[in-house]
Symmetry: C2
Subunit: 287 residues, 2 copies
């Protein structure tokens, strides 16, 4: 063991955790400073292409299926009849693709602040963008916080917040004011889904998010866990919040008979993701 | 993002995966070259103490509960009446401690080649060693492969192989000859448990291990997944192999009423760990 050789290695240091993760690169494929952020894509030796925004790990070809499948299918099969979906962030379009695998979905609106991310995703992650031209999809490049304030009340079944971390540009997506906009935009029984960081490293943040969701008026919460190797600790989560007093029973039969292939998602891994470790349940019980 | 600053960072490069993981250190606490290997313990900024053997990540104070609980409790609750257990490797004694939490266990024999690991674990991971002096425990420092050849036939209920990777000193623990010794040592219905690397990075190895277990005569296999942040990809697995035609139904009621606290393990996370992603099931089906 030693410090990393700097050439050909890209390292993200997780300052608050005293850890770091690195991928070995072959070359820089593209680098664009947009009005919002620096977007870079590298070719790696073993993880396919790798997108970084302002130095933060976003997505790799090799392991994004974990995140994208688990940010979408549990929420969609957890709702009785989802038809209208909004995605805040999600500019790589992988979440959009997964949502559109569900044949009963009627509309998906994706609102990412930065078109540059999608432009580069189309070029370097074309498989994630294969549903961008689906007639049910609308891609907007705009401020998601404002969009959520303005959208028609009770017009959405599912809102998926697929954003950067709560520090920096994504910060406004992790507070009570934003959650109140989401609550107003959801139909009764509607579900908000948000990536909620590492179950090992970010327990305090997770508890704060959940508290803010409750304070905004969501009636029940469910955090799910799944692997995500390129993110801090390799272990990630999303949190579901329902407009109502409790979640519907997931449509397990539909999940089992899903009319699409998935790599990580199944009705079993969905149930597995809902099984939280005792230490986390204890932290949530103290909320 | 950049190459890591070398001072105060310890990095393990996963050559076969093009990735690396680093922890920020405060200082080296101890370093001993034993007759078998170089054993080092560092104090880290956020992960407690951290043991490295021949440059390979072994155990941290912060996250070892994931590995130790999941290497033990699913197998023990998955057996109808486990009484006699052997641990091959496991010199940090964390696996031993978890096994001894089960009140019906009558004997546990731990066989690690290198006493130096246990000497340093006692000093720097005392919580893992708190059951070393349990009258049911026997700690041997010897060759586990030979021990398994020599042990009385049908004398064990559970064998836990808590070893280093299949490259290097641990290599002889991942082949058919060793598995045949294990099979002979197990009573009917007995279970072999072995750490089986990353479900993302080491699928080929996992399939080879499973094939070798089948070839040795084990009648059914079950791979379980769980998070393990300091190991490659942060996602790890163990594989159970049963002497018999099928696994017993786990003792879910006993798991639920377990007379000890656990941080990650519960009957729900046990079930969750058994839920494997479709891509892995497909790889196993092609075995």
């Amino acid at each position: 063991m030693a410090g990393l050789p700097t050439p050909n290695w890209l390292t993200e240091i997780h300052q608050d955790a005293g850890s770091a993760f690195s991928l070995q690169t072959v070359k820089l494929l593209a680098e664009v400073q947009s009005p919002f952020q620096l977007v870079q894509v590298f070719e790696t030796t073993d993880w396919g292409n790798f997108m970084i925004i302002d130095g933060c790990t976003m997505v790799s070809t090799r392991d994004n299926f974990l995140y994208h499948e688990m940010m979408t299918h549990p929420a969609l099969f957890g709702h009785a009849n989802p038809q209208h979906v909004a995605i805040i962030g999600g500019g790589d379009c992988g979440t959009l693709r997964e949502v559109l695998r569900h044949p009963d979905i009627k509309s998906v609106t994706q609102i990412d602040i930065d078109e540059q991310v999608t432009i580069m995703a189309r070029q370097y992650f074309p498989e994630l963008c294969e549903s961008n031209d689906d007639p049910r999809a609308t891609l907007l490049f705009d401020d998601g916080i404002q969009w959520m304030k303005d959208v028609a009340p009770e017009s959405l079944d599912i809102i998926i917040v697929d954003s950067t971390d709560p520090i920096g540009p994504g910060e406004g997506l992790f507070n009570r004011a934003f959650y109140q906009s989401c609550l107003a935009a959801l139909k009764p029984g509607g579900v908000l889904v948000q990536q909620s960081e590492s179950p090992l490293l970010h327990v305090d943040l997770l508890c704060q998010m959940r508290q803010a969701m409750s304070d905004a008026g969501f009636g029940a919460l469910q955090t799910l866990q799944f692997p995500q190797p390129i993110y801090p600790s390799g272990w990630w989560s999303c949190t579901h919040a329902v407009k109502g007093t409790e979640f519907a029973e997931p449509r397990w039969q539909d999940a089992q008979n899903r009319p699409f292939d998935s790599l990580y998602y199944s009705e079993q891994t969905h149930q597995g993701a809902m099984a939280l470790p005792p230490y986390l349940l204890k932290a949530f019980a103290a909320e």
